[in-house]
Symmetry: C2
DNA sequence: GCCGGATATACTCACTTCGAGTATAAAAGG
DNA sequence: CCTTTTATACTCGAAGTGAGTATATCCGGC
């Protein structure tokens, strides 16, 4: 019996935040995500990727999480002796440990997804996108209603609120509607910077996953330096979520979670009143979070 | 350059709920999860699995979601020409469409994880488990504190509340502490029924994922028949979560989500007052849910 | 036919959480 | 010393959540 033989490949979405700009590590001048073959010598996928990232970038990798495994037919290796299976990972790199961040190799998320940054309100480009999506909705009578609901929900139209977690759905809608060059549309009709093969889709997956995760697990701290101010922390979260947050409530949220503690020092680099410095309470690391139950429990 | 060649295998965690018992489809009299090679003819992994499940079981597969991809060294294929990559999926099967449920092939979740069912309060077996875990905690001085926190958090001890989502963490702790035969411990010291290779770990992954998911996406309905009563729905959720829920609050939660509507009919099969029958509002299917923001937004 | 058991359904209330706004403190610079 | 800027602290009402109680409708036994 023929057991499915395949080429195994690892693809990484490595992110860092510099100032208020979320960035991703790229190769080929920003056209592709770093990837490499899964070598036989590695203990596991995770270990393989860590090793490989360490060699290639010199940045120690903090948090690492599997994203998704793809094996669609169009991903078949050219000299196909079997097809290619791509296993993608999300990795977080601390700002200070990423000297390359800001230099070539690291590109801003919103270069690829300009419509995902809502920190300055709805970005202008979004109107153009939703106009084109509306054409796509109207162009078919059969699934029209269904398409309309998907667009409205994903982009926060018609009463629905903008939900930052839906980045992948938004990209997939645009792909279906032929608004990205990866779907075969002419470069003129493209929105955002495109990438090699399905790398932009994988990046969207990583962004969506991270945006969802920061809400129920303290992963932001994997991106922060050893000590930081509350404003820095807030700006980092805002950069990731692509949203502006309510400052007093953000602070309340943070300290009622008891995730951080004062270092005792302060910094006056920020301009106004000096800000206290905090550090992450590592004791809490693996436990904690995973907060809400959402199910109406019965205490008997 | 040697591109990593590997064997690709699909493993499925197929679940259904009959009455108040959550079940999983198994092969080898309950010793293993169904699995098979990833054939080259398939369009994608997802399509490959759907086809394969259809052929093997005759049950149409509703919801299907990727779980995790494993490729640890100990999973190497015997006549190793490369190693085996296992891609696991979680699938949900509707009760009525699964005539085999209850018959051989389908086994109850809690046969494998008796400590995960808290519907009748803390199960007795848990005390024995945590006693043994406590020995494991005390046996090492170096990481003792860390281990203690992990155990307390995972099993809801020392002030922490029981969290049904942590099934995977609990199994992994037991594995580390040598309380399951899969870790090489003698059968006498085993807790719960063990499985082939790492299949029980994969099942734990599936259960944990599903338990987490029912809180923010309406996936329960993939397990319900066309029409159902609110009590049936509640019992299904309780079966999955391994918890008892507060009836009035459960009903409030359900109808404020507007996920279901009355069929107009009622059933008196349950004994007391006849219960109204409801159906899932399919219109809502892809949108909706993904409820809470958890981030303190600013409206400017 | 009436009554108790069983199940379904409906309503109330206190407490916590959350969104939103306002007020005070401490630095820098003209 | 007064304004600007950033940091920090407090308040309030609306909404959500945990928990309990009350009413409705069937069945079966007497």
């Amino acid at each position: 019996m023929t057991i499915g033989l395949a080429h195994a490949e690892l693809i990484a979405v490595l992110s860092a935040v510099t100032g208020d700009e979320p960035r991703v590590m790229t190769v080929r001048s920003g056209d592709a995500l770093p990837s490499g073959p899964f070598e036989l010598g590695h203990r596991s996928l995770q270990a393989g990727l860590r090793e490989w990232v360490g060699d290639q970038t010199g940045h120690p990798l903090g948090y690492l999480e599997q994203l998704y495994t793809f094996a669609d037919r169009d991903r078949t290796h050219e000299d196909a002796e079997g097809r290619t299976i791509s296993i993608s990972y999300l990795g977080l790199v601390r700002e200070q440990a990423a000297p390359g961040a800001g230099k070539p190799g690291w590109h801003g998320w919103y270069e690829y997804f300009p419509w995902e940054d809502h920190r300055g309100g709805r970005p202008e480009i979004q109107a153009a996108i939703t106009d084109r999506l509306q054409d796509w909705v109207t162009s078919e009578t059969a699934r029209r209603e269904h398409r309309q609901r998907r667009v409205d929900f994903a982009f926060g139209l018609d009463g629905a609120a903008w939900n930052e977690d839906l980045g992948l759905q938004r990209y997939e809608l645009m792909y279906e509607a032929g608004l990205v060059t990866e779907a075969g549309c002419p470069p003129a009709k493209n929105f955002g910077r495109s990438m090699f093969a399905d790398h932009r889709r994988i990046l969207a997956t990583g962004i969506a996953r991270l945006r969802a995760k920061i809400k129920y697990r303290p992963v932001v701290f994997e991106l922060m330096p050893e000590s930081f101010t509350l404003s820095q922390l807030q700006r980092t979260v805002e950069a990731l979520a692509g949203l502006t947050l309510h400052k007093p409530n953000f602070r309340r949220l943070i300290d009622q979670q008891e995730l951080i503690e004062e270092t005792g020092e302060a910094t006056s680099e920020t301009g106004g009143r000096p800000a206290k410095l905090f550090r992450y309470r590592h004791a809490v690391l693996e436990e904690r979070a995973l907060s809400g139950s959402k199910l109406p429990l019965s205490r008997n």
